[in-house]
Subunit: 340 residues, 2 copies
């Protein structure tokens, strides 16, 4: 049944528990690795709608998953703002520019999704033709997470530079985050107009913030975006990695689902957020590195832990890693679907 | 008053709020950088009691801090087990050996603290003579955190290898963790016998665990250690970085204080742990990178956030970083002591 994922997001009963996997179209798949070699780079895959479509469909063809997720990256917006995104083997994302101050922030254009990000919209339109009734998830990085990479010029162990700036110049940071919130809202609106069936916002670096900073510099802008997307009748999921302490606040957003990393027990999360919001997660991705028997056992433990599975979508607590044996995904999906 | 820190750990009233700083004898101090150059390496500083003593005293001479912390490293135990600890510039700790399986775990000796770790005990004895009534904090890494480094052969971004092993071979991991718990207990007992006034256990990698794994593979061994140290009449502090979701469980340990990273609001932490356990923390270390005015403002905000300051010790939420201007520490200590 192709509507399990969307039904679960509306907290309706489903025949089986829906399951998809963050980064399901990724390096653990040999066909993906081949496509990447042929394309020459990860960004070429993202930016060529035919290739991005092909890659998005790879896990769907292999496994009976309940949702497809657009093959793209959380950093498409800063790239479209002219920052020059690159991925270097073993290093991760880097920008050719690094933001420093307010005049840099002011110079950033808000991208027109049908122009600078047209490749994403074209991919969505292609995918909708291919997927039939299989739901497609669109996504973006959150303003805070985008700002982290934009101010550090790429990834970082602790993002000290951007954390410092929250304290030394909160006004400038608010200016930047507000602009990013507008850009993210436009981008997600355009994804919805192009046809995605659900959207997900990744706040990958929520967990490096203090309680007060999370509320001021991340949650506030998530709220703005969800408010702006209110009229679009498409379910919204927020995933704040390391944000287990803020589930009560996150549950106040105008969203349908919360993604959970593996640090929180699902029953506890359910008790905190109530039964109006779907939960999605949260198997430790390290389990996927073990063996079929352990994958089955640990998958069952996660399914047991939530109790009532209404409004629940199985996923990992973070993206699947490149070293995983694809047969373990088969075991995982089968275990979820056959669990009663 | 030299007894502020110990009084606060007993949840007694103090004239001023006590303050010390994790990694207070560190690279942000020019005199420390000189000593390190002279010694040739970080490990020589740790392993030469006269030098470790000199370095421990450096921040005490500069600032009116309320406690000294032994200059050492959380990885002295695996080094004493024969794993060959090294620190490489820009890389962090590495071991010359890497543990793989049960036979490796079985071969590990439990160090005799007065032999293989005698340099630590000698440093403590020297320090006690120098410090007078100033309290000295001894410490160790937690079994889980030691295991993380020992199985990866050093630091890691996500410790995938050790997390995998928790699932694929929990029995072997329990064997290792039990051995490490014994070693940590012996080590801390010896530190207490040598004269430290309080001990602190650093579970630096608690935050990468699932709820169930944290309870099985970290908390359990913290409990064993605290149980074994029960007869020693010296206050105990546990710091589980990223463990904000488990404060209720941590508060059940036989401890006097909990160290907190900056992700949790202090008033909320107080509400969870009750008023029998002292709290220590939790300014975001990134604040120390800003300017004197911001340091003062943000320090005051932390002091305000806890409400009643009985049973409270000011500290950062993690170690102070090398780029900090030492004058900011002066501002911080003054702000804490003059706050009413």
């Amino acid at each position: 049944m192709k509507d399990r994922f969307l039904k679960a997001l509306r907290c309706e009963e489903t025949d089986q528990t829906p399951v998809w996997i963050m980064r399901q179209a990724g390096r653990y798949l040999p066909e993906y690795r081949n496509a990447r070699v042929r394309a020459g780079s990860f960004l070429t895959l993202c930016k060529t709608p035919e290739l991005a479509t092909e890659v998005t469909l790879m896990p769907i063809k292999r496994f009976p998953l309940d949702a497809a997720i657009l093959f793209s990256d959380i950093l498409t917006i800063p790239d479209a703002m002219g920052m020059g995104l690159n991925f270097r083997e073993g290093i991760g994302p880097t920008f050719s520019k690094k933001l420093e101050n307010l005049s840099d922030f002011k110079r950033l254009p808000i991208p027109n999704p049908e122009e600078e990000l047209r490749y994403v919209m074209d991919t969505i339109r292609l995918l909708k033709r291919e997927l039939g009734s299989m739901p497609l998830v669109g996504f973006s990085g959150s303003p805070w997470t985008l700002a982290c990479y934009m101010l550090e010029g790429g990834g970082s162990k602790d993002f000290n530079h951007v954390r410092k700036k929250l304290f030394s110049n909160p006004t400038e940071m608010r200016y930047l985050l507000e602009k990013l919130a507008k850009a993210v809202a436009h981008y997600l609106e355009a994804q919805i107009d192009a046809g995605v069936d659900a959207i997900m916002i990744f706040d990958s670096w929520a967990g490096i913030l203090s309680d007060s900073c999370f509320k001021q510099f991340s949650l506030k802008y998530l709220k703005d975006i969800c408010g702006k997307l209110k009229e679009k009748n498409v379910p919204k999921i927020v995933f704040a990695k390391g944000g287990g302490l803020w589930l009560d606040s996150l549950a106040q957003l105008e969203i349908n689902g919360l993604g959970l990393d593996w640090s929180i027990d699902l029953a506890r999360a359910r008790a905190i957020v109530g039964d109006k919001i779907a939960l999605q997660g949260n198997l430790d991705p390290a389990v996927m590195l073990t063996d079929p028997q352990t994958v089955r056992l640990e998958t069952k433990k996660v399914l047991e832990s939530i109790g009532n599975r209404k409004g629940y979508i199985f996923n990992l607590g973070h993206g699947i890693t490149p070293e995983v044996d694809p047969r373990h995904v088969e075991v995982l999906v089968d275990t979820v679907h056959s669990y009663r």
